[in-house]
Symmetry: C2
Subunit: 881 residues, 2 copies
């Protein structure tokens, strides 16, 4: 180790050496290499940084030696001397492998003391400039290296300007600066308990140490944790000859993007300040000017800069974020890096660059973060808007909406019919509230998690929803809620942001979703690359239509229970559930049959030519019954009134039935096929509705081959469950279709959502045409997490404390759940090579999870309609990775 080279002159490095030189250093080296005007300098490596910590934060002799040698090269290149007449001044900047903007430290104008300041004054013929550099140096060094509170320096500057009635630093006179320098040195003496170090070499070593130390300052540690950057990467130190943008009106400094980072427009975008150093642009002390004005102010420089931008873009084949300085009419480039951008810009830049021949389509696909695309697919809060956030809940259904508060579904419907935009607020919602959700712009609840009724229904309808916002103390009866001491009532205006969970006071500006031609083009390329098909989860014709528009290749999950929840059906469904005889139940089912049939007709029609996976009834029956507390209190009230009225008897019976159906853990209770086996008449009605729908559509002129039902049996754990339900489907199909059965091929499969189903996937494959992994429930059972409870209780704590790195309901838990999915895929294919495998959990719309499903070679993913574009892109990236 001791003989390893630890310091590289820019000319000794290149862009490939990022992990050794850090990102900034490697780019400076690269720019030097390709002949761009970069002030000379050298980089102390990231390995030196690690060694520094091993040496207990000491600089060891060999490193000092190497730095000294490089410094001598700079002296001879520039013809200047460090600490001498014609003084060499340096900038000392951090530079990590993965850029951590603003997290670590920088010192400019290093090498100044009273003598070199005077030498600089003589050389430049501008004593004010030299003094300005000197006071900047003391200030920055004092802050960064000597850890003196920066406000002490700022206060001196402010006091001086106030005393002299000046508005900007640039107006300070030579005399002003002299007195400021004296005050600064006095501050150092007082605060640091030592004289300001005048020896340039000592200054340099202290600055290098400070940059190394800043790798472990608290804000850098937090940033690394948040961005999962490993601690051992270390930072490089870039030591570079100073150039001065503050040498007068032929000097300036600025930053610019090679394209517009907000829109992606192919024009240079940035700003600059005349007669200033870099930190003036950042600090906001003076207002910078748009880069376009430089064209008029310094036409030649501007031309040269535009050409540098072009060179850098075509060299890096990426939009660049560039720092530059003009010193006495000469342009210097101080840094270049890949520019951050918004989602619309990312899409436009990627597509434009393909058109310009800069990058390939495959590269373009990899340039866009699919997670970011969410922004483009929902109405969202204008990022420029000032927000007064009054509370935060769970981001349950993306999109933003403003409206007047209402506290019950009927009122929501009534006001909406009068043309009012309303937000429905409730503790939680039930199937009785569907018409209110439908009428509202969005839903806000104080209880329930990401799979609560409100969340599921709102996502299904594509409406914004914020759930489980516990800060709201809601009084439904009187129609208000309290946050802290403040009360909000019906009619008050609020905005909710379902992507962040924010509840915002008043109406704030919203941005409409953008489906630009570039976006469509990019997704078209993705479709050519990806191996996974992408379907949508959709429960009604309207969602199916949106899904198709978003590029879905079928429906991967049509949840029939949502059809049971329509307000005109709930009473029939309740009667069906509470029926005391099979005959009575079948009579109610007879009533539901034509309704279900119409649902399926609409969906088949919308999805003509594409497969539609229909999941038979899944949730426990008590979900459809009235709220237990209400009935309990009603019974109690009626009992108090004394007489045994028929109403009391009826309510008592209802309570009894609700109690009978109640379960301790409904998630693990009588639902899915357990229901279908116990009440085969329900599934039979649903299957009948499916095939009657198909028959009628054919009679109405649809081609049979355009109707592709895939009937899915939920919550199967044992082969026998599926075998019996398959038999029920086949018998019912034969009965309904009769001689036309051959015209209408259909599939029967199961949702794989229990660990046992994965473990015996080979047995299940014998009686299944397809598996659809229901990774939501599979995550719940494999991890033993009730999602609603976990997200309301321990999961946020687990994530905050780092016990879990990611929310397993957002990104699939590869080690646990993923292992089961892989096992099931292997076992089932071994038994039945042609089995269709897909995913219909919410992970089907998550890019990291999609990458995993692609690795396993599954057939398709299915996600909510508005995530289909994200999935299409992510599936392509998974292939390209």
């Amino acid at each position: 180790m001791s003989t390893q080279k630890m310091v590289y002159l820019f000319e000794q490095g290149s862009a490939e050496m990022k992990s050794l030189l850090g990102s900034k250093g490697a780019n400076l080296a690269e720019m030097s290499r390709i002949g761009l005007p970069v002030p000379p300098g050298f980089v102390i490596t990231t390995e030196a940084c690690n060694r520094y910590y091993e040496e207990n934060r000491q600089i060891w002799p060999e490193l000092e030696q190497e730095v000294r040698q490089c410094l001598e090269v700079l002296e001879s290149t520039t013809g200047r001397r460090f600490g001498g007449e014609n003084p060499l001044l340096l900038s000392v900047r951090s530079g990590a492998v993965i850029s951590m903007p603003g997290m670590m430290d920088t010192v400019l104008n290093l090498g100044l003391n009273r003598e070199t300041m005077e030498a600089l004054a003589r050389e430049s013929g501008n004593r004010r400039f030299a003094l300005d550099c000197y006071r900047r140096f003391i200030q920055m060094f004092g802050d960064v290296v000597l850890k003196i509170d920066r406000n002490l320096f700022e206060k001196v500057l402010e006091d001086k300007k106030e005393a002299r009635n000046l508005s900007s630093d640039a107006e300070l006179s030579e005399e002003d600066l002299e007195s400021i320098v004296a005050s600064f040195l006095e501050i150092v003496r007082r605060e640091a308990g030592r004289e300001f170090p005048t020896e340039p070499w000592e200054q340099l070593l202290l600055a290098i140490k400070a940059v190394f130390d800043s790798w472990h300052n608290p804000r850098a540690q937090v940033y690394r944790q948040a961005n999962r950057i490993p601690d051992h990467l270390g930072t490089g130190v870039n030591v570079q000859v100073m150039v001065f943008g503050n040498l007068g009106d032929d000097s300036c400094t600025g930053v610019a993007f090679t394209r517009n980072p907000s829109t992606g427009e192919g024009k240079i975008y940035g700003e600059y300040l005349m007669n200033a150093q870099g930190e003036d642009v950042v600090s906001g002390a003076r207002t910078p000017r748009p880069i376009a004005e430089l064209k008029e102010e310094m036409p030649a420089i501007y031309e040269q800069f535009v050409s540098v931008c072009r060179t850098l873009e075509s060299h890096y084949r990426e939009m660049q974020d560039i720092e530059f300085t003009v010193e006495k009419g000469k342009l210097y480039i101080l840094q270049t890096r890949t520019g951050k951008r918004t989602a619309p810009a990312a899409v436009k830049i990627a597509v434009d660059m393909v058109r310009e021949g800069l990058i390939s389509r495959e590269e373009a696909l990899q340039r866009v973060d699919p997670g970011q695309l969410q922004q483009l697919l929902h109405r969202r809060v204008d990022p420029e808007a000032k927000l007064d956030v009054i509370a935060r809940g769970l981001p349950a259904s993306p999109g933003a909406a403003s409206g007047r508060l209402v506290f019950n579904a009927d009122r929501a419907q009534a006001l909406a019919e009068e043309g009012e935009k309303v937000l429905l607020v409730s503790t939680e919602t039930t199937p009785d509230d569907i018409h209110g959700i439908l009428a509202a712009q969005g839903v806000l609840t104080s209880r329930g998690g990401m799979t609560s009724h409100a969340a599921v229904v709102a996502r299904g309808m594509g409406k914004p929803c914020v759930c489980g916002c516990e800060e709201l103390k809601i009084n439904l009866e009187e129609g208000y809620f309290r946050v802290g001491e403040e009360v909000f009532r019906e009619g008050d205006l609020l905005t909710i942001d379902g992507a962040t969970g924010q509840v915002i006071r008043g109406q704030v500006p919203l941005i409409e979703p953008q489906l630009t031609p570039e976006f469509k083009e990019l997704l078209g390329w993705a479709d050519q690359v990806r191996r996974l098909a992408v379907r949508a989860n959709a429960d009604n014709p309207e969602d199916a239509r949106i899904a198709l528009e978003m590029g879905a290749q079928g429906i991967g999950l049509c949840r029939t229970e949502h059809m049971f929840m329509a307000p005109d059906r709930v009473p029939v469904v309740q009667k069906m559930i509470l029926a005391s005889t099979l005959e009575e139940r079948e009579r109610q089912l007879e009533q539901l049959l034509p309704m279900q049939k119409e649902d399926f007709k609409g969906i088949f029609r919308a999805m003509a030519g594409y497969p539609v996976t229909i999941r038979l009834l899944d949730p426990p029956l008590h979900e459809f019954l009235p709220d237990r507390d209400e009935v309990l209190l009603k019974v109690h009230r009626l009992r108090q009134q004394g007489a045994a009225t028929p109403e009391l008897k009826e309510q008592e019976q209802l309570l009894q039935q609700i109690n009978n159906l109640a379960e301790f853990n409904p998630m693990l209770g009588q639902r899915g096929c357990r229901l279908g086996l116990a009440y085969p008449e329900i599934y039979r009605m649903q299957v009948k509705a499916i095939f009657l729908a198909a028959l009628e559509l054919i009679e109405e002129g649809m081609k049979p081959e355009e109707i592709k039902p895939e009937i899915m049996i939920p919550l199967v754990g044992h082969r026998e469950e599926l075998a019996r339900m398959r038999k029920l489907v086949e018998e019912t199909a034969a009965e309904v279709l009769g001689s036309r059965e051959k015209e209408l091929p259909y599939l029967v499969g199961t949702m794989i959502e229990l660990p046992r189903a994965c473990l015996v996937a080979d047995q299940l494959a014998e009686v299944a045409d397809f598996f659809s992994f229901g990774t939501n429930d599979l995550t719940q059972t494999t991890l033993g997490y009730s999602r609603d409870d976990a997200e309301a209780k321990f999961l946020p704590f687990y994530l905050r404390e780092g016990i879990l790195a990611v929310n397993p309901f957002m990104e699939i838990d590869r080690e646990g759940v993923g292992q089961l999915v892989e096992l099931a895929a292997q076992k089932s294919r071994k038994r039945k090579a042609e089995i269709k495998l897909g995913v219909c959990g919410e992970h089907g719309g998550d890019p990291h999870s999609i990458a995993f499903f692609n690795e396993l070679g599954l057939g398709y993913v299915s996600c909510s309609p508005f995530r289909v574009p994200i999935a299409r892109l992510a599936a392509a990236q998974a292939v390209l990775k």
Copy 2:
């Protein structure tokens, strides 16, 4: 197939040919072979039975041919002719591979008609006897072959006896029998629409067909299903020369066991009837006499029979159940088979046979069904008692108890203190009821499954419990329940049987548990053979004491939550849970600390020298809070009263807190280590109590090496959870033990009860000294079954319908849950070869599951104290299998 031999003479067979000849046929052949006095005969094979069904229930020519040849052999052996003068009469009996007593058909005295009857009369010189045989034959053939209602024949017999004022068949005169035969033949004519078949050969073929047919009669099918006997085994048909126990006072017939099947005593046990045929013994028409009396009546025969019994026992090396007939002073053996016996008999016989040198210890161990041992370990209902069962619930905690009904815990305590024996009846129990359960003889609830509070607590206390008895409509407020129209009130006497789930009217005789010397000896042999250690689940010193007595080698699961539920602690626990600050919570925990410490001292003291696995707090906190419905109604009532009293405010706050802690699926919610991570102060208190207890015991004179705590963290799914909790344990231990830490080695491990834990067992092994498979919860999560809900709802239906073969909470689901356990064992051992692996779910006491755990090579199983002997035996059998 057509050339295969289908009929075997007895002398052509042996005991080894059971699967071909059926059990009875093979034993008849074997007895012939070893020279015992068996009437000659032949067997039609079980393969012939299968062929019979393939031939659409027809007898084919080759079979007829073989039967005819064998019949000729019988004729020549006996010097009789079938249908001739000196007539050969036959018995035709079924005989399956696995004995199905009473399920299939038999015809005796076959070959009789008017002519052969008269020939028999002449030959025997006893026309009454011949007529008696004839009427028996017509009656039996009419019933079995011609399917005529047997009651029609019985009625004729009864009418005749009444008319003649006789009390038994034996008193009927020749004339009576003549007229009865005539009536019987008339019945056949009328009911069967044909004359009674007089041709003996036709009789024989029809009887053979009838026996084959009886293989598929409904009761045989039900029996096979219940006993899991495959349909394809088929039955043999035994055709044997008749011998007559009804030939006068030198003839008799009887059945006997070679030892007492009820006690195991080594004396012949049975009964006989003078001058009778076999069915008379079975039918109960006459009361048989104890076999001992035969010694006086026919001393020589008795001696010969005793000698036959000895021969058969030493030949089969098993207790035999023998049918015999004495015809005119000559003994014939008609059947022998292994005798069924009670649990005490099974144990005594097995041990005695080892002492007698008949069998080895290993064989003795395999002779006792561990499942049956349950009988010996709890008080049980006398099997002789007549029961009036009024309802049935779940068999939640074994044992039987009688007592007077009480409907609340306080009343139970009060009455018990007055010396009354009471049964606590409730819809369900809560921690508030503990004192009532403690005071009661047993618990009966109308709701909740095998893991409900009542069930768990009762099992823990070893008290009988019947749960989820939904037939009881309980009115707690008014203190009664209704079953159908009948009302039961406080003070009424009932008996519950927690082994069967029966609720029985009145007080019935109970049998005390028996721990005989033989039983202890047998278990001692088991201990020498078995590889699995057996521990007990015990939560208090009393249970620990019982566990030791039952032979437990430590505690595998000490559930600390039961310590929280003691009535004097519940208020403190509730305050602790509802504490709004950490300080307040710690103050309450401070109060609990000395109580927990005393618990652990008691357990360590009782278990001196043995390991004690202590599971830190597991259940969700809301389990300790008051019933929500009650608080809800109280709040409602107080609100109605108007004024905002402090009580209303308090109750509203309580309701709010209960609501906050409430979960949708508590089984998958904030419990186990999720609690420990969120409220480390609770676990810290518990760990402190453990080590303080150890320290004090050492000071009181116990040797440190006698205290072996194994601290178990529940519900771990991720390595990080366990790593952090391990750290908490280690830090607390170091703090409490100080310099004495080395003296007191302890282990830290986890309960494996989530599928994910199995899947990442290698990672968990890195931070665990042991794993204890909590197969109850692992079954719940792997199968997605909430046990309480499943056992109350769909599981009984699944078992009844044959969707599942066994209850997976009783016997481990090898294919699903078992696969995960195996995976976890492999993965963890690969990472840490020395890791301790055990099982603490209820499967730890189930013999089938124990066999599986033995296969996997786990280290121990742990079960409730009263199942320890069962587990010891089952573990030995697993090795011997």
